[in-house]
Amino acid sequence: MTSTDIVFDNVSKFYAEVLGVNRVNLSIPPGVTSLVGPNGSGKTTLMNMIAGLLRPSRGRVTVCGISPDEAERFFRMVGYATQYDAFPRGLTGYEFVECYLRLYGYSAKDTKRLAWEAIDRVGLREACARRIAGYSKGMRQRIKLAQAIAHRPRVLVLDEPLNGLDPLARAETIALFQALAAEGSHVLISTHILHEVDLISDRVIMMNQGYVVAEGQIRGMRDEISEHPMQVLIRCDKPEYLASRLFHENQVVEVRLHADRAGLLVRTRNADGFYKLLNHIALNGVQIESVAPADDDAQSVYEYLIGSEESTK
């Protein structure tokens, strides 16, 4: 834990009798962090507490060592694009970014420059003179993002930022997140598109029913899940022979041949031991084309920890 981290110190939040999040202890370093979990799991509550829109019922949240109570310092550092698809009435895209940027106390010249810089970063220069009421969902997402990054925050919190974006805008936005993270910023994203989590994130926080059920890098999280044997896909020239060899090993739980007879799926309780064994077998006449883990992605880890029946959001 360092002063550059977002820190949750035994944080709980209750809405009257209803649990928002409970006993959350986290230390989130800079980089892209994805927050995943089903509806009502507490993701938005967690984000709202990072951004100071909610106060913990218990515990303490600090961002880079600063509490939201120090508004004048804290909110220069934090930018938040919420899930709310709501904007002040009658404003154009440019006016929306510019008018709230004025609250930071910049001169008129700097305000204008920062507003244009943010609008350019999200690719909305041509549309920014139009009223937001006429924007598509994707454009509204992008203008919200521009508003959140306009003051160049070190910590960017984004609730479902990829919702409604077309594939090109999606790719550009993901590249923007990665560029911001490469500059040393925190980018904390909630998303329900699990296959993008692997693509976007340096680490993942999984939540369910108000609790953090896992956090860290996906591979590390997968290694911790001992009750689900690791799945490995192998493409080779002698899959039947390889399968027969593997059946004799204690660490191998299951072997399935592919329908094309050019590979097999192995389930093992000891991934490290299995890879050593595979090296040994390869040296004894089996031509192995590829070896790839089949379930150390966010989707699989999510299903193991939270369950595939839960719809994510």
Partner: protein, 285 residues
């Protein structure tokens, strides 16, 4: 690129808040009824001017009394009261309903500065609308008496000082009711409930004992108004209801002004302290 700090920052932030909010208040379609309410008294006054009545019953003295009645019973108690409900309670609660308050709360603005900025923007709008209307109503009421009598009333008589008193009363009504409804917007999910309670309290003010009378806005406003109306000391006591009225002297105008400003200041400070704990929970709205 160094943002300012301290008082300069607060001043810039207040100006920025006013810039956003004034536009919303002045040009919002849903605020049209506030203009109608503010300028409603002009209609009978202009009608009175356009359609001359029997000369014997149409004296300047009578119009002064009628104006005092309209101003105290309609303009202060109804028009400005409800206008301030519409303007000030929406400054926070309206933004909550629109799900746009978080844009302010995510900026590096102290909650106290936010409350001050929002109050000043509401107050500016209210003064322009209701103070402006009061200034228009006065000539509209008396103009038909002719230039000569009007000049004599305004500049040789008490007309100008009456006009200033009515304008000050309208401004102070905006400050008094505005502070209360701003606080209601911060504190209550539905500010119409405290507004209704306040309306009843202000309505029964005439029947309250002296001490409770002073715990209201209307008592101090009436003290600033230059002409007594029925129900006030010196007014026409020709109604059975007058038996229930507890008659006390109005406060001197300067005391009334200071007291109203103190009450409003206290309410604003209290609202600012409560705003520190304000959370965004749009889902619960």
């Amino acid at each position: 690129m160094n943002p300012t700090s301290g008082r300069t920052l607060w001043l810039r932030q207040i100006v920025a808040i006013m810039r956003i909010d004034l536009r919303k208040t002045f040009f919002a379609k849903r605020g049209l009824w506030i203009y109608l309410l503010a300028f409603a008294p002009l209609l009978p006054m202009i009608g009175h001017w356009a359609i001359p009545t029997n000369g014997a019953n149409d004296t300047l003295g009578q119009d002064v009394q009628i104006f005092a009645g309209i101003f105290q019973f309609f303009y202060l108690r109804v028009a400005i009261f409800f206008g301030c409900v519409g303007i000030f309670s929406n400054l926070f609660r309206g933004e909550m309903m629109d799900k746009s308050l978080h844009y302010y709360l995510l900026a590096p603005v102290r909650r106290e500065v936010l409350v001050a900025g929002k109050f000043l923007s509401g107050l500016t709008a209210a003064i322009v609308i209701f103070g402006g209307s009061a200034l228009l109503q006065f000539p509209a009421m008396f103009w038909h008496h002719g230039r000569e009598l009007m000049d004599a009333y305004m500049f040789a008589g008490p007309g100008l000082s009456h006009l200033v008193s009515y304008f000050v009363a309208a401004v102070l009504a905006c400050i008094g009711y505005g502070s209360l409804f701003l606080a209601a917007g911060v504190l209550f999910r539905n500010p119409l409930i405290p507004a209704a309670l306040l309306l009843v309290w202000e309505g029964i003010n005439g029947f309250l004992p002296a001490l409770l009378k002073k715990l209201s806005v209307i008592y101090w406003l009436q003290s600033i108004c230059p002409i007594s109306t029925p129900g006030q000391r010196g007014g026409n006591h020709n109604n059975i209801m007058q038996l229930l009225i507890i008659d006390i002297d109005p406060a001197p105008a300067h005391i009334a002004i200071v007291n109203l400003l103190l009450i409003s200041g206290f309410v604003i400070v209290w609202a600012a302290m409560r705003a520190r704990k304000l959370e965004i929970a749009y889902g619960a709205e």
